[in-house]
């Protein structure tokens, strides 16, 4: 029972750090700062999913975490290659 509480408590803690990190998305002066915060969210969500998989005894959640880890990059790469490069061209 203690271990389950530990897992859920850790997941709650990670969720709270995630909510704190939202501040950077809201304030972030450059676009890159916002994207970095989103990247951190992806990692935190992976950790959260792994904890929940252990706590709720639902092994399929590890596959969800795997997909997350794979696809969190797509948005970041799309940002760097498309949204940001277009911005840079206009500055010159």
């Amino acid at each position: 029972m203690f271990m389950e509480m530990l897992y859920i408590g850790m997941a709650l803690f990670l969720l709270l750090t995630l909510v704190a990190g939202l501040w950077r998305i809201l304030r972030g002066p450059t676009a890159a700062d916002r994207m970095l915060a989103a990247q951190l969210f992806g990692t935190t969500a992976v950790a959260c999913l792994l904890l929940l998989a252990q706590a709720l005894e639902q092994p399929p959640l590890r596959d969800v975490a795997l997909v997350f880890a794979l696809l969190a990059v797509v948005a970041a790469v799309a940002f760097v290659r498309r949204a940001w490069v277009a911005d840079r061209e206009t500055e010159e």
């Binding site: 271990m3 450059t30 252990q54 975490a65 880890a69 990059v73």
Partner: protein, 99 residues
């Protein structure tokens, strides 16, 4: 509560501490490059410690393998994204922070 449970607890708390430090760094550091530095600590070490802690509790070796695979994927993704962002930020002329 067995020995492995205690080790898991310690590892999980350490991992959560790294996530907290990463978030604080993200909020408090002055520019993109230093924030990137804080971020990768949470990505790599924090998730690594959590994976280590959970792997101790895993019921089979397949689960341990999957956890390690997830960690390796996040490492790879974090390194690539950090590198991409830094290179493009330099090209765009975002200034390095000077005290």
């Amino acid at each position: 509560m067995s020995v492995s449970d205690i080790i898991t607890t310690i590892l999980l708390i350490a991992g959560a501490a790294f996530f907290l430090v990463g978030t604080v760094g993200l909020l408090r550091f002055p520019d993109v490059y230093t924030r990137l530095h804080a971020l990768t600590k949470a990505d790599n070490v924090g998730l690594g410690l959590m994976v280590a802690g959970l792997a101790l509790q895993a019921e089979s070796w397949a689960v341990v393998g999957k956890l390690l695979l997830i960690w390796c994927l996040v490492l790879l993704a974090g390194a690539s994204v950090a590198h991409l962002v830094t290179v493009v930020a330099r090209q765009r002329g975002i200034k390095l922070w000077k005290r």
